[in-house]
Point group: C2
Chain length 303, copies 2
């Protein structure tokens, strides 16, 4: 496969935003930013984000601190700064949405939004999930409390620090060149919607390089050995906490031994079959996913 | 920089070992393997591994179950299988080492060992650290218990499952081509031994792609913007729980603005300076690290 030198930024990544990682260690500065009337606040309900009812494309409802009906609480998460204005995410819990707005799951609207906006919402969702899962210290069981605008949690019993977690996972487009030309391997999990096929994927285990994970996962799920493992691009995937690391790899042969506990089916597809759904009516993964990107990338490249 | 198509496997990665991820979900099978006299057991004391006193190169002490002075306990960690024999890691806690052996920190011996052996020990160290830090459920604070040979912990109060954690971090060799030819950027942390300089590195934050982390970290630490961000290779780094993702990137200019909270110093080095320590007496990072590998890779390539 020809190398594409500059993969475009993926949905849910955000290149322009300044996380202000140094500034957020300053508690006094953070307290000032929480009170500043122009500070922007993203409203969440747990993992769901508040969007305007009638916006097209979909649009999150950001308020300024001056528009809130209460002071911005200490547990609001500091996201960073844009054009000199600080931004926080606030979990409203069970509160009702504002009139003219509703709470939605990000994946229902993310791919329709500007990429930078979807990236900020994904980042907020990832942080909120992490806080939900780390209220207590794994080392001693006592409660932890957020610091640094929500980018650290500290256990005040054993003094352990806990940092946000991202689970690295490989996702791989496998190709094989045989008598029928080049084909790619796609599989379907029992969890998928009907007829959807996608690239194979799996979490990195402790003590593995990414390349080893690719080899292990593909062999476990499809029974094939791969070589020429080439990194392509990466995408944060906070559904709930993954970091997707996209690869291309070549299969040594095309004889599949499918693990039916992992995959309901897996099969080889030619470019023509994927480009003309009438020949083989399958659904590809959603356009917001790196899986779809890896497939599209292959479709537009010559073997 | 010319692309090297096949980076060699790094120390602490292990390509040959079979993790037997399907088999370890079978509790009855695991119980049998724990009792099988030929099953191999790696002896640890917390994060330290037992090695033979007089072995050169260094060699971990593996015992068979038949050589243990007790049954292999349920909390021994299942590592996987090699040549049809199961392998476990057992944390002996405060026990004394066997006669003729001692407990050592892996990094003092890892780079002198065969890569596959060092990889198994790194994998064991990473798992043991994870268990130490996840004895309690982060969501509800109740105790968790290991399942699947130590690859999952379950909270029996709220039924949450917890999986091993690897923290993805980018590590990047930055180059700049100017009037003095091509130079690379190395920095030193206040934690380093005297005169050591290394590549810049930092953890991936939620909502970031790897490429964004590279841009953010390099800008935060050295004040420069980079482009042509190219993935090179990856290395598990269980000291205690990192997954190092190695990149090359080009600086837009060579004007540094060093964050003195992060770096004690940073500077540009020519290949000649790194190849001839008499010209500029610095120490490079240890040979077991991907940092060293990224530097060596650049040294042997023409600009």
């Amino acid at each position: 496969m020809r190398r594409l030198s500059n993969p475009p930024p993926h949905v849910y990544a955000n290149r322009a935003f300044d996380r202000a990682a140094k500034a957020r260690t300053d508690a006094a500065w953070l307290a000032e930013e929480r009170q500043r009337p122009t500070t922007r606040v993203l409203l969440m309900s747990g993992l769901r984000v508040m969007v305007l009812d009638d916006a097209d494309p979909p649009c999150a409802l950001w308020l300024t601190v001056s528009e809130l009906d209460r002071p911005l609480s200490d547990d609001a998460l500091f996201l960073g700064r844009e054009h000199g204005v600080s931004a926080f995410a606030l979990d409203l819990g069970q509160d009702q949405p504002r009139p003219g707005a509703r709470f939605v799951e990000l994946r229902t609207v993310g791919s329709l939004m500007p990429a930078d906006e979807a990236g900020l919402l994904a980042y907020s969702r990832g942080l909120i999930f992490w806080h939900q899962r780390h209220r207590f210290c794994g080392a001693c069981g006592h409660p932890t409390r957020p610091e640094q605008g929500g980018h650290v949690r500290r256990c005040h019993h054993c003094n352990s620090l806990h940092f946000p977690r991202s689970d690295p996972a490989v996702i791989v487009l496998i190709t094989h060149h045989g008598p029928r030309g080049e084909r790619c391997l796609l599989g379907r999990s029992p969890r998928f919607i009907p007829n959807m096929y996608s690239t194979l994927a799996g979490f990195v285990e402790p003590g593995e390089s990414l390349e080893e994970t690719v080899q292990r996962e593909v062999h476990e799920e499809a029974g094939i050995h791969v070589h020429d493992i080439t990194y392509r691009s990466s995408q944060p995937w906070p559904f709930p906490a993954s970091l997707m690391l996209g690869f291309h790899a070549r299969a040594q042969d095309d004889h599949l031994m499918i693990d039916r506990n992992e995959l309901e089916d897996a099969a080889w597809f030619t470019r023509d079959e994927l480009l003309d759904p009438s020949r083989r009516p399958i659904r590809l993964p959603n356009p917001d996913s790196i899986a779809r990107h890896l497939i599209e990338e292959w479709l537009v490249n010559d073997a």
